[in-house]
Symmetry: C2
Subunit: 136 residues, 2 copies
DNA sequence: TTAATTCGGACTAAAAAAGTCGTATTTATG
DNA sequence: CATAAATACGACTTTTTTAGTCCGAATTAA
């Protein structure tokens, strides 16, 4: 509980690697996987999600690979988590319109609102934290 | 990921229940379990941990049960999490003396320190948040 | 045409969380 | 002193989530 997903960790290393590449040359998954000690198949999936999320750009085919699409200063930790993992959700009822399926207490629950506030504070923290802050 | 353990949630309801009991009378697990819709066996384990953690006091035998040992204002969310779940640990290496078993990168890891700082911020947030804040 | 690459989904394995069960101990009360 | 209602504690099972693997397809430079 209250752990950062491995995929987010791996993404940080991958982004750092790409950010240090000279001339904006693209990097292949194999290259990053080997140099950073990240399982190839897992990293491949992570990179695809990062590409879909607009953080990196992909080039297919031989000589293909990925390049950063934004600077690490522009990527928030929260964005990374949302793309790779899922939104921060302290409790099951922390969704827009909770049903009895999410929690039998549903709306008239005394802890829902206070919990929501704490969760918001965490979201703020993760919004102002950038990948650049995390990889130096 | 980044979810509050169910046991912490249940503990909040139990503490609220006990705090509303008149005359500091003790409450049995059965009583709380039924009124709050929490599985009996699970709540029993939670109450034992809360007792060991000094948050409640137990009386054994028939007519036994639990009473609060401190006011909800005096119990931080962090304390509750530490007692019932485990310490907040963003990454495997967020321990005092990480070994290669925790992470092969061990100490010379560029994300360890920055991550530690963010984790500290969360710990601060959970330290200043009290159970009272969460159950109103 | 080939080889190195990304794409995308299905699958498996491992770990963690949630929940259950059984037995022992304690103690007020008839 | 026997009983019933309570806590104590550990082992176990089930469910859910995370991490990791595999495979076949599409793409593209040479």
């Amino acid at each position: 509980m209250l752990k950062i997903a491995k995929s987010v960790e791996y993404a940080l290393f991958a982004i750092k690697y790409m950010s240090e590449k000279e001339n904006k040359k693209c990097s292949s998954v194999a290259e990053i996987s080997e140099s950073q000690n990240i399982p190839f198949d897992l990293l491949a999936k992570i990179m695809q999600k990062l590409a879909k999320g607009g953080i990196i750009l992909s080039t297919q085919g031989i000589k293909g690979g990925y390049v950063l699409n934004c600077r690490p200063e522009q990527i928030s930790l929260n964005r990374l988590i949302n793309i790779l993992d899922k939104k921060i959700q302290f409790t099951n009822c922390m969704v827009d319109n909770p049903t009895t399926n999410d929690c039998h207490r549903v709306k008239n629950c005394c802890i829902r609102n206070p919990m929501q506030k704490i969760q918001n504070r965490l979201n703020e923290l993760f919004d102002i934290t950038t990948v650049h802050d995390l990889i130096q």
